[in-house]
């Protein structure tokens, strides 16, 4: 993957996570925190890690049904693609969520 496409994935997935945080968290302070980390895994695999956190109501990722295009075409609700897009474009995605809020950590290897 070249530098441009890494940048495109990074920006897009960060945006998706922020959209989800603002839209679904019901966070009382309307704040979303971002943190960035560059690291090396297994001695040589350089990665960028982006964390998006909110202090909202949390959710159970296991209860989020994956979207299906055939259903979406027939449904009045076309939304619900954020997590699928993030998981598809990033190399690792970790979601920690509870009553204290949600943190999604997305990792992309160089």
């Amino acid at each position: 993957m070249n530098a441009v496409s890494i940048r495109a994935c990074r920006i897009r997935d960060k945006l998706e996570a922020c959209i989800n945080a603002f839209e679904h968290s019901d966070t009382p302070d309307r704040r979303v925190e971002l943190d960035f980390r560059i690291g090396v895994a297994d001695g040589s695999r350089v990665y960028l890690e982006v964390g998006v956190s909110d202090a909202g109501k949390g959710f159970d990722p296991a209860r989020v049904s994956p979207p299906d295009i055939a259903d979406k075409l027939k449904s009045s609700r076309k939304r619900g693609w954020g997590i699928k897009i993030i998981e598809s474009l990033m190399d690792d995605v970790r979601i920690e969520s509870g009553t204290h809020g949600t943190k999604i950590v997305m990792r992309k290897y160089r």
């Binding site: 496409s5 495109a8 994935c9 920006i11 897009r12 945006l15 998706e16 959209i19 979207p67 299906d68 295009i69 055939a70 979406k72 075409l73 076309k78 939304r79 619900g80 693609w81 954020g82 699928k84 897009i85 598809s88 474009l89």
Partner: protein
Amino acid sequence: MSETLKVAVERPDETTAVLKTDGYINNAGGEEIAKAAYALLGTGVNRLLLDLEKTKIVNSIGISILIEILEKVLDSGGRLAFCRLTPTIEKTFQIMGLAQYARIFPAADPALAWLRGDAE
């Protein structure tokens, strides 16, 4: 790529239109495309080509609006194609399964041929 999405419309024939986008397809950008597309569908166009050469980012809200446009085109018995997508956008559309209902082409000419039924 501009911050506010712009849409340029070309009409190669009576039933076909090309929408060239320039900018970020988010909520506002998607609505701009939908406005142009629905105006065209009301004038007899039912073959749409979305040329995204100057669009580098699409978010999930924008994608949901593109699905609405696709639904309306299919309901009218028409076809919708995309061309000149960035690799990331193309991968996203493939992952979503959008490519099952709308074809993706590297350039406009083969897309227009497919829309007209001249090529499969």
